[in-house]
Amino acid sequence: MHSTPSPAGRARGRLGPALGAAGAVLALWSLTAWSGAVAPGLLPTPVETASALAAGARSGLLASDVVASLTRAGQGFALGALLGSALGFATGYLPRLSAAVTPLVSFLRPIPAIALVPLATAWFGIGETAKRLLIAYAVLLAVWLYVHDGVSRVPVSHLRAARTLGAPLHRRFTEVLLPAAAPALLAALRYGASVALLALVAAELGGADSGLAYRLQVDGQFLRVDRMFAGLLVLGLLGVAVDLVLAAIGRRFVHWGAS
């Protein structure tokens, strides 16, 4: 406990190797692009990618795509995370409910979100509703599983102790179950956020008129590999940024360390 470096210290310790690896990838990429080993037009140089990114930023297209995608992913994530957490708490706390529901979840979980795009389109059209619901569905299943697992692992002695100390149900939930499951809830939300971005891409490829994945598809039709690389770069950075934000929020709430 005492010798563990602070989270900030640990993050700083990881930054060096991460930057080193990024530099190595960049170097390898540059060498491959400039060596002529790949047919021209299939692999952009880092410079071409950067200028495609800058052009997108200047035209405002990049910003509007990011906003469109983040709005969709955010709304779908919020809905899915809310429902998934609620269900996870319910099935994690009530073994009988869990016995009824778990087989259903086990059946639904291996179906990838992208396989549901045609169905979502048939039911809800190609508007925003279909995309939001698809993302929400994917996030719901992911968050549910993690939260369920976390809640069902809360030591029974914690709940028993709370009852012998005279805590009524609402206090047992807010003051015992919720904090005890908080590390799992945090992990669930981080995983759910990454699932939201995966489902976002599936949803946008299924028909959209804006968004990062939609733009990738358009650029693909014109074989603009420089713009495609720029789009993928933005998608990746977005995922990293979202995860860092959630992890930072989590550290504020889960400060006692796993026990």
């Binding site: 914690h158 028993r160 709370a162 012998t164 100390l165 805590a167 005890a180 360390g257």
Partner: protein
């Protein structure tokens, strides 16, 4: 501040497996009883039935005037693995127990600190359980259980995970607390010397399913080697299990 606890023909089954044969046990208000037996003999099950964690298959448990139907703050429990809330400091854990009393915040804090001082942990009040040693954690658990002002205190092998020195200090502390408060105490252990050092009475439990094998008063004063060997014979006469 203490209740009589009465078990009348209390038997317990998990599914179809009987783990406890009917037990008759009368714990007078303010008494200190040790429940002694090997692991798996059902002694924690007896404690669980009094705490209200376990519903008996037959018979009934009474605490004070009313039947036991579930856990309640009149019967405090100290768990083997402390069961402290790791997200709360030592003081926060004790305050959890005090919330029930509806005290103003400052009073709650004052009482929590007093309860920690009573168990000799005034220094560690703002530490989290993970920053405390096993003995200190069990002190917090004791303070937390007593802060809820229970009339019966149930302890389930509370010092089993502690080293010998810490253990004997905790035993002394528990005796003092009991003498000061007069709470009815039921102390579950598999250690014969611990039972004899602490309790006024030793109830030996054994067999599968478990049943009461012997019930001895422990006289005050220096340890009685004859009583020790008598109880040891009860324990060792058991088929191993």
């Amino acid at each position: 501040m203490s209740k009589r606890v009465l078990l009348e023909g209390v038997s317990v089954a998990y599914g179809r497996t009987r783990v406890l044969d009917p037990v008759e046990l009368d714990l007078p208000a303010g008494s200190f009883t040790a429940l002694l037996g090997p692991s798996g003999c059902g002694k924690s099950t007896v404690l669980g039935a009094v705490a209200g964690f376990v519903s008996p298959a037959g018979g009934r448990v009474t605490a004070g005037a009313g039947p036991v139907t579930g856990p309640g703050p009149d019967r405090g429990v100290v768990f083997q693995h402390y069961a402290l809330f790791p997200w709360r400091t030592a003081r926060g854990n004790v305050e959890f127990a005090l919330k029930r009393l509806g005290l103003p915040r400052a009073e709650r804090r004052r009482r929590a600190l007093a309860a920690l001082a009573e168990v000799g942990l005034a220094e560690g009040a703002e530490k989290y359980p993970a920053q405390l040693s096993g003995g200190m954690q069990q002190r917090v658990a004791l303070a937390r259980a007593l802060a809820a002002e229970p009339e019966v205190l149930l302890l389930d092998e509370p010092f089993g995970a502690l080293d010998t020195l810490t253990r004997s200090r905790m035993q002394t502390l528990l005796r003092e607390l009991w003498q000061r408060r007069g709470t009815t105490v039921l102390f579950v252990t598999h250690d014969i010397d611990e039972a004899l050092a602490l309790a006024q009475r030793v109830v030996v439990l054994g067999g599968t399913p478990g049943r009461v094998l012997a019930d001895h008063p422990v006289p005050d004063g220096p340890p009685d080697p004859d009583l020790r060997s008598l109880i040891a014979r009860h324990l060792h006469a058991l088929p191993t299990g």
